[in-house]
């Protein structure tokens, strides 16, 4: 076999807890070079394509069109239309993230503090939708929001409206659809942090005379900020890159970068420009990844 059959022990510096490790090394079942196939695969099919994509947009915008002054990035960051698209992408992602925090926090609180024997069911109900197809869910919302769908019919039955409202292809179903897809991520992130908060801290605050709201605002909420942070980065990232929901529920009412990339690829076929737009998305994603790492590291230090 290809694995070296040398001694099991390898010199290590930091001692490991457990009886066996005292004085000895720790067992490594596979050599460190076993990392290589996966690492090489990702360098070739993940890093290189993204770098090439970045190069291409810069080369095309600056080398192939010297002096014309309409390089892709210049166009992207000066043309009012594209600025508005970038603005909408950011506003939508931030808005959806904020709604997910507000909608999801009470559910996370319920899951950790009150669900008791129902917590298995609650987690199942949170995860099950994640495994249904994105098309299925947008289809469901389209049925509900249709001209003669359940919402319109109900509103007409109770006499709030006389004629059906054209919900579809507007921003409202698109935002609802996005929140529907992303809120479970937020809830699970917040719940995993809430679970580790010592309930005694809240009890102490109450005993010392703080009201319920004050206890929540100055004890529970600050202690769970880490969970909100992790969830917010995740939801922002996913909202930032989504286009199916916006395409099928929002019509053309909200234009975002992913949607524009999709359209550039589909119809206009200006690939250099699409590369430039995808690079803007990539930079946002990398910034989020960096923030995520810092959050994890900070929590790691606290935990240790």
């Amino acid at each position: 076999m290809t694995t070296p059959t040398g001694t099991a022990e390898q010199p290590t510096t930091s001692p490991r807890s457990g009886l066996w490790s005292r004085g000895a090394g720790h067992y490594q079942s596979v050599g460190e070079w076993w990392i290589l196939p996966a690492a090489i695969f990702l360098v070739v099919f993940f890093v290189v394509p993204l770098v090439e994509n970045a190069e291409k947009s810069i080369a095309l915008s600056q080398l192939l069109r010297p002096g014309t002054g309409d390089g892709y990035y210049l166009k992207l960051f000066t043309d009012p239309y594209y600025l508005w698209v970038i603005g909408q992408t950011v506003i939508l992602s931030v808005g959806v993230t904020a709604i997910c925090v507000v909608v999801g926090y009470p559910i996370a609180l319920y899951l950790v503090r009150h669900a008791g024997r129902w917590s298995g069911l609650v987690i199942f109900l949170l995860i099950a939708p994640l495994l249904t197809s994105i098309i299925m869910r947008t289809f469901g919302w389209r049925v509900l929001f249709a001209r003669r769908g359940l919402f319109n019919e109900t509103l007409m039955d109770i006499g709030w409206i006389e004629r059906p409202i054209a919900f579809l292809n507007g921003p409202v179903p698109a935002v609802i659809g996005l929140v529907h897809v992303l809120v479970p991520f937020m809830i699970l992130s917040i719940a995993s942090v809430l679970r580790n908060i010592d309930i005694g801290l809240e009890e102490s605050a109450r005993l010392l005379g703080a009201g319920r709201i004050r206890t929540f605002m100055s004890v529970t909420l600050p202690l769970s900020l880490d969970g909100i942070g992790t969830g917010a980065i995740l939801v922002f990232l996913l909202a930032n890159g989504s286009f199916v929901t916006l395409l099928l529920l929002g019509g053309g009412s909200i234009q975002t970068l992913p949607l524009l990339i999709y359209q550039q690829f589909n119809t206009t076929r200006d690939f250099g420009f699409a590369s430039a737009m995808s690079n803007v998305l990539l930079v946002v994603a990398l910034a989020c990844l960096y923030l995520q790492l810092r959050l994890i590291r900070r929590r790691g230090v606290k935990g240790g």
Binding site: Y27, Y110, R113, H114, L126, A146, P258, L281
Partner: protein, 273 residues
């Protein structure tokens, strides 16, 4: 559990919270249930609640409409193969990284998991041009490579999670008792991490089945996956056959979820790390 009463000693506010939770789960589940109901429509148009009774005609249409069935086969092939390839590459890497003492190991782990944080549409777009340039073009192989970039990190994450929880003493004991490295790996390590491999691969398969942003760029008559066909169908027509296709896909996912729960436990996957 004790202590919650400090928070919600008021019965009314507790009732309010419960009502909110129920309303939330109706919001979460209703659009999915509606699609399942619509897939049994007897009418040729989409209506909820369905009129004129129920039927199985849309499942029959799914079966007879070639693009749906062909793309489902492509989807399943890609899901299985990308999970297998992801496991082949990811499992050894996860094992090596978990027990590595180098400072670099953390960075490498972050790198292996980083495709999960990239917008898939960007990844699909960039990969299409790269794979075309090196001559792979729009092909089954390209689609497989693109899906593996995403399935690999899922498998690395679950396998690393399981292996981290296993004490090295089992392997050390076997080594002391005279097993060589290969015997230790096959007889001790592999059986212990099996649930992790299985769960990670299953999870990657479910993600692959629903992956639209990447599959979209590699679409051709031979390489269209089910979500891509469903999307193009939806852009031209709105009839219950897409509901039937969704219901079939959901059925596959539920079977997967039940297996996952039995073998690994949902809670360990659900919590983002």
């Amino acid at each position: 559990m004790e202590g919650w009463s400090y928070y919600w000693e008021n019965r009314g506010s507790r009732l309010l919270l419960t009502a909110y939770v129920v309303a939330f789960f109706i919001f979460l589940i209703a659009p999915i249930l509606i699609v399942v109901v619509v897939s049994f429509s007897a009418t040729s148009y989409v209506a909820f609640p369905p009129r004129e009774g129920l039927s199985l005609q849309w499942f029959q249409r799914f079966w007879e409409y070639k693009p749906f069935l062909n793309s489902l086969i492509v989807s399943i092939q890609i899901a299985l193969l990308s999970a297998a390839l992801g496991a082949l590459l990811g499992v050894p890497a996860a094992l090596a990284l978990v027990r590595s003492r180098r400072r670099l190991a953390n960075t490498v782990m972050t790198f292996l998991l980083s495709p999960l944080s990239m917008p898939l549409i960007v990844l699909g777009f960039a990969l299409l041009f790269f794979l075309s340039r090196i001559g792979f073009g729009v092909s089954f192989l390209s689609l497989l490579i693109a899906h593996t970039v995403v399935s690999l990190p899922y498998i690395v994450r679950t396998v690393a999670g399981v292996y981290r929880g296993i004490s090295p003493e089992f392997e050390e004991t076997a080594a002391i008792l005279g097993a060589n490295r290969w015997q230790v790996f096959v007889n001790v390590t592999l059986p212990m991490i099996k649930p992790g491999i299985f769960a990670g691969a299953l999870f990657a398969m479910l993600i692959s089945l629903d992956n639209l942003p990447i599959s979209y760029f590699f679409g051709s008559a031979e390489t269209n996956t089910l979500p891509v066909v469903m999307l193009s169908y939806l852009e031209h027509q709105f009839d219950p056959s897409v509901a039937a296709a969704s219901t079939i896909q959901l059925l596959v996912a539920i079977v997967g979820l039940v297996i996952l729960e039995r073998t690994y436990g949902l809670q360990r996957i659900g919590m983002p790390t």
